[in-house]
């Protein structure tokens, strides 16, 4: 699942029914959309600051990147907020991922592998377990060098684990709650309408 679509019509209905007749609904729809986008972006950037990858590898800034992909579109149904980013829906809804173009999924086993594909490391060697190949590692170099303690070998680090599928639990904290989102939208639309009224007085 690649992204998320949030229909904000329900959250805004209460405010829209309060509209003065001379304030065009068309002018309010962008406020609803932008307020929702701003709130979700702020939430995702906060997550980015608090959730670094567990392996300690170079950060991909997944959540900040998702924040930048957040936008709104006005449709005949109302305002739709979308997060056009691969992986956000998977985290939010959870579920089982199975490989499509390969036999196994690759799960990073080291900080170096985080945010990368196995294909970027050149030739990797299989790591065998009881039931076949369970990982991929760098090839070992038999005589890589010498230290005071003697000869040592380089390579052999396991970069990826291979699995047939991976199941993630749903993480609803990836997004603000619909109640929080609705409250923010109502507040922004409310202040906007109030200002329009004041200007007409």
């Amino acid at each position: 699942m690649l992204g998320i679509h949030i229909q904000t019509k329900d959250a805004a209905t209460e405010v829209i029914t309060d509209l003065e007749k001379d304030i065009e609904p068309d002018r309010v729809a962008p406020i609803i959309g932008r307020a929702g986008v701003n709130h979700i972006k702020g939430h995702l950037v906060s997550l980015d600051n608090s959730r670094a990858n567990r392996l300690g590898g170079k950060r991909t800034h997944f959540y900040a990147s998702a924040a930048r992909s957040t936008n709104f579109q006005i449709t005949s149904e109302g305002v739709v907020i979308s997060i056009n980013h691969v992986g956000v829906a998977q985290r939010y809804f959870g579920g089982t991922i199975r490989p499509v173009n390969a036999k196994r999924l690759t799960i990073p086993a080291s900080a170096e592998a985080y945010g990368k594909r196995a294909g970027e490391f050149g030739k990797l060697e299989p790591v065998f377990g009881r039931n076949g190949i369970v990982g991929l590692r760098r090839p070992k170099h038999k005589t890589a060098g010498r230290t005071r303690q003697g000869r040592y070998t380089r390579g052999g680090e396991i970069l990826f684990w291979l699995v047939k599928s991976a199941t993630q639990a749903a993480d609803k904290s990836v997004l603000p709650t619909e109640a929080e989102l609705g409250a923010e939208v109502r507040e922004q639309v409310g202040t906007y309408i109030e200002r329009q009224k004041n200007r007409k007085r």
Partner: protein, 280 residues
Amino acid sequence: MIFSKPLPFKEAIASRQVKSVLPTTASSAQLKAIAPELRERAMFSARTTNAGYLEKINGLVTRIVSPETIIDPVTGERRPTRPGEYMDIARARVELKQALAAMGYQPDESKRGGLQDLSSDARLNTILETNVRMAQGYGNWQQGQAPAILDQWPAQELYREETRDQERDWTSRWTGAGGKLYGGRMIARKNDAIWTQISEFGLPYPPFDYNSGMGVRDVDHDEAVKLGVIEEKAVVPPEDRKFNEDLEVKPPARQGALFDALVKSLGDSAEFVEGVLRLK
């Protein structure tokens, strides 16, 4: 209600569609001589002369920005993306490395792994991330040009969106370019010239530099008035980068118009040799 299918980010996609590939022998420093409004209509990379490779980058960036749809490789029609077709930075990097290998590209040994090595992670990440962020930055900026949005959020703040191991001194850059601080915060009206002045690319939307972790966030009317950024009755007029007008022209003619505009703008310092821009 929350669903798992996003709608396309139309404005960000338009910023990709408006681009024509611009093969060039020019360096990054030389390319800065090109006017920002022409650069934002060109898909280029310093010292990259292969048009096919630039098209490949352009297509991959568009797929990252718009992951919900894909152009079917068989029918040529746009359709919803299926599992296994989703594009992200890591996958795009693999595809570009494969494309370079297929072209027989070999980096100069002394430059291997650096920004001048077309196949290095550093170079590929910079190209992909800068282009993706430009599209999203433009999309966000363009959505914010609705008069009602400019009324409700007439100002914006430059802030640290992503951490960096080595952070640039943006406060000095901001104040050095004439930006004012409000309680230490870098805030200005959305149509203030400061936004293009702090940008390495001369554009009013982020990213404002290569690999920058800075972004912008809206500041609403009441707060902007309270801070003294705007006056109560101030109106921020919308701006337009005129992408829609360009998109009315078909791609080959659009590329021709871009090349003509480049020659006109750069004068004797530019020439096209077999479709490749050379800057003297």
